[in-house]
C-alpha cells in the first residue's frame, strides 16, 4: 500500500466539496477515479499533492503522514501530478522542461556554485542524458529543442507525463490524461501507462472516458456527492 486516504473532507466557505473520502492504493497498480463534473476530483488531487489543505482527515504516503506538508515537500517524497490543462513551461524547450522537472539538482542551489561547481556540471550532463532517454519513452525525441508552448495538446500531455518520469515520482496523479486527444494519442498514452505500471509505478487518474480508462485499470473509484465508492477487479 503506497497511499492511504482516510476520512478526508474539504469545504470552501461552508460549501462542502468532499464529504468523507477514504481509499487506498496498492503499489504498482493503475486506478481510475470517475465522477461528475464538479464532484471534487481535481480538488482531491490538489489536496493529495499539497496545493490545498484538507479541512479534515488524514493522508499517508508510504506510511508517512503528508496531511499538512506543502506541495514542494510532497513532490520530494515521490508524488507527482499533472494538470487538467497541461502545465508545461511554454517558452522553454522540451529538453529544458524535462530538466526542470528533475529533482534535487545541485544546480538549483546558489551556494553550490561556490562550494562545488564541478559537481553541478557532472550532474547536469547525467540528467541531460536521462532527459533524452525519457524523451524517447514519451515519443518526443525529435522535439527536444522545440518550445513546449508550440507542441500540440496531446504532445504537451505526453511531455507532462515525461516530466513526472524524470521527476522520479512513484505515485503519478494524472488529471484527465486522455481528454481532448485522438485515438492514436490515447493508445500511445495507454501503452505508456501500462509500461510504467510494469516498472512498478502507481497511477491514479481522473478520467471521463470510462471505457478507455477501465481497459487499463486495476481498480475503479467513483466519487459522487463527496463520497468514494469502490469497484474492484473490473479489468
Amino acid at each position: 500500500m503506497i497511499l492511504k486516504v482516510l476520512n478526508v473532507g474539504k469545504s470552501f466557505n461552508g460549501l462542502i466539496v468532499l464529504e468523507d473520502v477514504s481509499f487506498e492504493l496498492e503499489t504498482g497498480t493503475i486506478t481510475s477515479l470517475f465522477g461528475e463534473n464538479g464532484s471534487g476530483k481535481t480538488t482531491l488531487f490538489h489536496i493529495i499533492s499539497g496545493f490545498l489543505p484538507p479541512s479534515r482527515g488524514k493522508i499517508y504516503f508510504k506510511g508517512e503522514s503528508i496531511y499538512d506538508k506543502p506541495a514542494t515537500e510532497i513532490d520530494k517524497l515521490g508524488i507527482g501530478r499533472t494538470w487538467q490543462f497541461p502545465r508545461v513551461f511554454k517558452n522553454l524547450s522540451v529538453l529544458d522542461n524535462l530538466l526542470l522537472a528533475s529533482k534535487k539538482h545541485p544546480g538549483e542551489h546558489v551556494l553550490n556554485y561556490l562550494v562545488n561547481p564541478f559537481k553541478i556540471w557532472q550532474e547536469e550532463k547525467k540528467r541531460k542524458e536521462k532527459a533524452v532517454r525519457i524523451s524517447y519513452d514519451v515519443g518526443l525525441s525529435d522535439k527536444l529543442e522545440e518550445a513546449a508552448g508550440r507542441l500540440s495538446f496531446g504532445q504537451q500531455k505526453l511531455l507532462s507525463i515525461g516530466m513526472l518520469l524524470i521527476n522520479e515520482a512513484e505515485l503519478l496523479l494524472l488529471d484527465e490524461p486522455f481528454a481532448g486527444l485522438n485515438v492514436i494519442m490515447v493508445d500511445a498514452i495507454s501503452k505508456l501507462l501500462l509500461q510504467l505500471k510494469e516498472e512498478g509505478k502507481t497511477i491514479l487518474m481522473i478520467e471521463h472516458d470510462r471505457k478507455k480508462a477501465k481497459a487499463i485499470s486495476d481498480k475503479v473509484l467513483y466519487l459522487t456527492k463527496g463520497i468514494i465508492r469502490e469497484d474492484v477487479g473490473v479489468a
Binding site: D75, G80, L100, H105, V110
Partner: protein, 289 residues
C-alpha cells in the same frame, strides 16, 4: 575622441543596469519599477564610503553591493506575496519612498544638493583620472558583468528562473520553491545595480537624487522591453539604442532646450509601438502576458 569615450562610459553604465533589470523582468517575470532605487542606493553608499569613510573604490563598491543585498528585502517580500500588477505597484511605491529618502534625509544624503567631490577609483597608486583610463576601467567592469550574465544564462539556476516566470505552480509541483528563485534573482539584480551606481558616482564625481527617480526606472524598463525580454543581447542592444538615440538627435541639430523632451517623446512612442506591435522587442524570447 573624448566625446566618444564619454558616450561609451554612459552606455556601459546602462548596459549593466539593463542586464540587471533583464534578470528580473526577462528571466523571472518580475516587472520591478524600483530598479533606479537600487541604482541610486548603490551610488549613494559607494559615494559616501568614498568621501566620508575614505575607503578605496573596491571596498566602497563591495560595501554598496552588500548594502543593496540587505535593502532588497522589501522587493523579496513583495515578490513572495504579490502577483504581477500588484508587484509592479508595490515596487513603484517603494521607488517613490526611496526617492523621498534620498531627497529628504539631508543629514546623510545632503538632500537635493547631492554629494560632490567623489574621487576617481585607483589601484596601487594608479588613479583612473583621465578619460581614456577611466573608460578602460569601466569597460573592464562592464565586460565582467556581461560575462557573469552570459555564464549565469548557461547554468541550471537560470533555467529555474525561467521556470518560475513561465509557471509557478508547475515549479512547485516539481518540488521547487518559486520564492527561493525569485529572491535570488532580486538579490543578484540589486547587487549588480550597485555596480552601475558605483561607476556612475565615480565617473561623474557628483550625484544627486534627480538621477535616481521613477523616470529612470521607467527608462531602464524601456531599454529591456525594446531590446527584448529574456535575451542578453537584447538588453545590450536596448541600452545602446537608448543612449545613442539622443546623440543622433544632437547631430541633426535639434536645439538643446527641447532635445530632452523630444527624446522622451521618441522613447514613449517607441515603447507604445513595441508593446503593441512587436511585444518581443528586437531579440526577445518572452513577453509579459
Amino acid at each position: 575622441m573624448n566625446y566618444f569615450l564619454h558616450i561609451l562610459i554612459v552606455c556601459e553604465i546602462y548596459i549593466i543596469l539593463a542586464l540587471a533589470m533583464n534578470l528580473l523582468a526577462g528571466y523571472s517575470g518580475l516587472l520591478s519599477l524600483a530598479q533606479a532605487a537600487y541604482y541610486g542606493i548603490g551610488a549613494y553608499v559607494s559615494a559616501l564610503l568614498l568621501t566620508q569613510a575614505g575607503l578605496s573604490f573596491s571596498l566602497s563598491l563591495l560595501g554598496a553591493i552588500c548594502f543593496n543585498l540587505i535593502i532588497s528585502f522589501p522587493i523579496i517580500w513583495f515578490a513572495s506575496s504579490l502577483r504581477d500588477l500588484y508587484f509592479a505597484i508595490a515596487t513603484l511605491a517603494w521607488q517613490i519612498i526611496v526617492s523621498a529618502i534620498l531627497y529628504n534625509w539631508q543629514a546623510v544624503t545632503n538632500g537635493p544638493f547631492g554629494i560632490m567631490g567623489i574621487p576617481k577609483p585607483g589601484f596601487g597608486g594608479f588613479v583612473f583620472d583621465s578619460l581614456p583610463s577611466f573608460a578602460s576601467f569601466s569597460s573592464l567592469v562592464t565586460l565582467s558583468v556581461l560575462l557573469f550574465f552570459i555564464g549565469l544564462h548557461r547554468t541550471p539556476l537560470s533555467r529555474c528562473f525561467l521556470g518560475v516566470r513561465d509557471d509557478q505552480l508547475a515549479m512547485m509541483s516539481f518540488g521547487k520553491k518559486p520564492s527561493y528563485f525569485k529572491s535570488w534573482a532580486i538579490l543578484i539584480s540589486s547587487g549588480v545595480s550597485a555596480i552601475a551606481g558605483g561607476l556612475f558616482a565615480v565617473y561623474f564625481s557628483y550625484i544627486d537624487p534627480s538621477s535616481f527617480t521613477l523616470d529612470e526606472s521607467i527608462l531602464i524598463i524601456c531599454m529591456v522591453l525594446v531590446g527584448g525580454l529574456g535575451a542578453i543581447r537584447g538588453s545590450v542592444a536596448g541600452a545602446l539604442f537608448y543612449v545613442l538615440l539622443p546623440e543622433v538627435l544632437r547631430f541633426i541639430h535639434i536645439p538643446d532646450s527641447i532635445a530632452a523632451n523630444v527624446r522622451m517623446m521618441i522613447y514613449a512612442v517607441l515603447l507604445i509601438l513595441v508593446v503593441m506591435y512587436r511585444p518581443y522587442g528586437f531579440f526577445g524570447k518572452y513577453t509579459f502576458e
